[in-house]
């Protein structure tokens, strides 16, 4: 399918067709504004240690085939797209937390990178509204009931990542239903069955991708998987990169499901390797070919694809943006900024390293 436009043109962006619920951003805006309005004129506490959250669940041991699978760059023109989201707690109010989420889709086409970035969406989450906000977004997006509902509602600390996950799934769906014959890069793994990654939803996403002959490659920056006591990404063979190492025998307990085959990808020179999950349902040859096409169509630095790096960079919140969001909430919703004293600092002086480093 060389020289075929894999993204159908629309005035704005190739949002999914009507079968997919495209109203999520609208719902995000509604929920965002609705939640903020209820926080109007409340004092809020600046978050004393801003942190970004990622999620990764891995428990089982595995076998690593030490025979590397050598890779050759395939320059057959293929669109490479990537998704990432960020979430951040930007402050506290007397009754809840102010959080911000943002997501980005980046794709490389005709040697140019392009992006669409959604957000930031700011939410005021309280114990009272957290279920409503989350369920409204979930229902607006999923349409069908997923196993999400079996999980207890997320606590306040989890809400930033949970809302960001909803946005991420939606962005992933958008890509899988828009691109043809492409490579879709996810941040993280294809392990499902957690509150953030419902299996049925992930299955739908992968199936949608396969229907359009896309292959999903999920890169994990961190992994807990070990072989012979070593992290699988620390095992570096003498073999000249690029190559893959295949893992086998990883078993999971329900509800955890592995939707991808797990590899260790060392794609460039240097001591960097990543866990790479590739959709189980595609043939081994297609898997290898997908990675080879990635080598031929995207820039790779430190074994990491540039498209995914850009997605991450574009959605990450900088300190400047955090200040701007605090400024926005203070201006638009008259939230009074109050600095609640850090009790660790207060009690222990220079020996108190802050609440988050206690």
């Amino acid at each position: 399918m060389i020289e075929q436009y894999t993204i159908a043109t629309t005035p704005k962006y190739n949002f999914p067709q009507p079968t997919t619920n495209t109203t999520l951003p609208q719902r995000l805006i509604e929920q965002s504004i609705h939640s903020l309005k209820h926080a109007q004129n409340q004092p809020f506490q600046l978050n004393q240690q801003i942190f970004q959250q990622t999620n990764n669940i891995e428990t089982q041991a595995l076998q690593l085939k030490l025979q590397p699978i050598p890779l050759q760059s395939k320059h057959e023109e293929t669109i490479v797209a990537a998704v990432d989201t960020s979430s951040m707690k930007i402050g506290e109010t007397a009754t809840g937390t102010l959080i911000a989420v943002r997501g980005a889709n980046v794709w490389k086409q005709n040697r140019n990178y392009r992006y669409i970035r959604l957000g930031p969406f700011i939410f005021h989450i309280t114990e009272e509204n957290k279920k409503e906000v989350y369920n409204t977004l979930q229902t607006a997006y999923f349409n069908t009931q997923h196993e999400h509902n079996h999980h207890s509602p997320p606590n306040l600390q989890q809400m930033p990542t949970r809302i960001a996950s909803l946005l991420e799934r939606w962005l992933q769906t958008t890509l899988t239903k828009t691109i043809n014959n492409g490579l879709i890069l996810f941040d993280g793994s294809l392990t499902t069955g957690t509150a953030d990654t419902p299996t049925s939803l992930m299955k739908e996403i992968l199936e949608a991708a396969r229907k359009r002959r896309n292959i999903v490659l999920a890169f994990s920056k961190m992994t807990n998987l070990r072989f012979n006591g070593h992290l699988i990404t620390d095992i570096l063979l003498e073999h000249k990169p690029p190559y893959l190492l295949e893992t086998v025998g990883l078993k999971t307990k329900p509800p955890i499901v592995l939707l991808g085959d797990i590899y260790v990808a060392r794609l460039t020179k240097g001591n960097y390797a990543f866990r790479l999950d590739i959709d189980k349902q595609v043939t081994p040859e297609q898997k290898i070919e997908a990675v080879e096409k990635l080598l031929g169509n995207d820039l790779l630095s430190q074994s990491y694809p540039e498209t995914l790096r850009l997605a991450h960079i574009l959605c990450t919140f900088t300190a400047n943006e955090v200040i701007a969001m605090q400024h926005f909430t203070a201006q638009a919703y008259k939230l009074k900024i109050i600095n609640r004293p850090d009790m660790h600092r207060l009690l222990f002086g220079p020996f108190g390293k802050g609440e988050n480093n206690a």
Binding site: Y113, Y115, I116, G119, P120, L310, I313, T318, N320, I323
Partner: protein, 486 residues
């Protein structure tokens, strides 16, 4: 605007994009609870150090240095807030005074409340009123940054040492003419050492007609309408000329003194008799040769005459100027360096004589590029000794390092035009009434015809002034070869 930091007499203020503040502006930091306010001047405007700004800039250029193409769906419109924060600036301000009960004091020993203080721009007219800069004898120098008129008091120039400096073609001579004409207007006697003939036509308007100053401008051109007779001179004046301008050795000077005494006793002090006396004087041949060479230098300058009638114009002009106010322009344009020194030595001695004998009240001396005619030892003399006699000097130069450091230290007023050279600014910043940061920061950015007024004239509130235009034929323009092409 928000008060951010204070270190010594430097205050840092955070300013947002909708607040337009520039270098040179004055701010009033009011602490209502303390009942006091600080007057601070912005001496530099910097970007505020916003956390994460580097990441923000790097993120916008990840694609090989070109902007990455994309769309932002920003429903809450946070982007304007981001740019608002990004464009915040930090104003580096110098505390100039404290206002308490409508009176000013130079104190900066108190600290206004960071959270409660209000900060606003202080309009220059308000500051002028507060500091009482305009006095009984107003001189309109020009406009200020906020387009109001800046008026100084002529009294702040009286008895003062002034320096006008800046790089070429920034308007120094223009300002000196403005000051000069205004002083004449108040009946002052002004003397100008005009090196380039720039002041000769001050009595004419730009279109060549006579102006109000026409009768008050007296141009004296040495060896033409300005000559002196030996009888009018004191021995010490001529000796100063011979020793300092013509480098006469000490032994020969002693013989000259004897010749002079002899001629004076016989009432034969004239150039002809002086030549004869040297010829017939019993002395060493080398001494005679030395005296002869200096004698012919004096003769060749054509500045000395034996005709007393020819040698009265200076005094006439001085007394006219004394009566009605006026300027005596000493045209040194076509005068050789040695003749220039002879003329200046003579004039300074003459003025001291007139002032000590109370025949003159005081004179305002405007000296352009004084290093070209003023001998080393005269600098201190002018700013210390002669000031007490009533010679109030204004030095005008584009080479600030030619004016000695002690002159800067004693300067009462400095009018500083643009300088970009660090070294030049360093020299000027040695002035006692100036702080180096203000000079270096503001002077560098001054456009042509704008000057930074420092010192007594602005009551130590440095002000950027756009010098007003003059309807006089200035003749200060450089002659150009390609004038028609331009």
């Amino acid at each position: 605007m928000k008060l951010y930091k204070k270190e010594g007499n430097i205050i840092q203020i955070l300013s947002f994009p909708n607040e337009t503040v520039e270098k040179g502006d004055y701010l009033l930091i009011e602490d209502a609870d303390a009942g006091k306010a600080l007057i601070a001047q912005v001496i530099d405007v910097q970007f505020a150090s916003i956390p994460g700004i580097l990441e923000e800039l790097l993120r916008s250029l990840p694609d090989g240095g070109e902007l990455i193409q994309g769309e932002d769906f920003d429903p809450l419109e946070i982007a304007p807030h981001i740019t608002y924060i990004q464009d915040a600036s930090l104003l580096i301000c110098k505390i100039r005074a404290t206002v308490e009960n409508e009176s000013l004091s130079p104190s900066s020993s108190w600290l206004p409340s960071r959270s409660q203080s209000t900060i606003k721009k202080l309009p220059i007219p308000t500051l002028i009123k507060l500091a009482k800069i305009d006095g009984k004898l107003p001189i309109i120098l020009g406009g200020t940054k906020d387009s109001s008129l800046l008026t100084i008091d002529a009294l702040s120039l009286d008895g003062r040492l002034n320096i006008i400096t800046g790089k070429k073609e920034t308007g120094k001579s223009h300002l000196s003419k403005l000051l000069m004409l205004n002083l004449i207007g108040y009946k002052a006697t002004v003397v100008v050492f005009d090196l380039n003939g720039e002041y000769l036509s001050l009595g004419m308007t730009t279109d060549g007609k006579r102006n109000a100053y026409h009768d008050k401008i007296h141009v004296l051109t040495p060896s033409q309408n300005f000559k002196v007779a030996l009888k009018q001179l004191n021995l010490h004046v001529l000796l100063e000329i011979l020793i300092h301008a013509l480098h006469l050795p000490g032994t020969s000077a002693r013989e000259f003194r004897r010749i002079w005494q002899s001629l004076k006793e016989r009432d034969m002090l004239n150039m002809h008799e002086l030549g004869e006396a040297i010829r017939n004087w019993h002395c060493n041949q080398h001494v005679r040769d030395a005296l002869f060479s200096r004698y012919y230098a004096l003769v060749n300058s054509c500045f000395f005459t034996d005709n007393i009638a020819e040698a009265t114009f200076l005094e006439e002009c001085v007394f006219k100027a004394k009566e009605h106010g006026g300027a005596i322009i000493i045209n040194l344009r076509n005068t050789s360096p040695i003749d220039r020194q002879i003329v200046v030595e003579y004039l300074l001695a003459k003025f001291v004589e007139l002032l000590t004998s109370s025949r003159l009240k005081a004179i305002f001396l405007f000296a352009e590029e004084a290093h070209l005619y003023l001998r080393e030892t005269y600098w201190d003399d002018i700013v210390t000794r002669m000031r007490h006699f009533g010679i109030f000097t204004t030095f005008i130069t584009n080479q600030p390092d030619t004016v000695r450091e002690n002159i800067y230290r004693q300067a009462d007023n400095i009018f500083l035009f643009n300088f970009t050279n660090e070294h030049d600014l360093e020299v000027v910043s040695r002035a006692a009434r100036v702080d180096a940061e203000t000079v270096k920061s503001i002077a560098r950015d001054l456009p042509p015809h704008y000057c930074l007024g420092l010192g007594r004239v602005v009551k130590d509130f440095p002000m950027v002034i756009k010098v007003k235009a003059l309807d006089v034929k200035t003749m200060g323009e450089t002659r150009l070869f390609f004038k028609d092409t331009n």
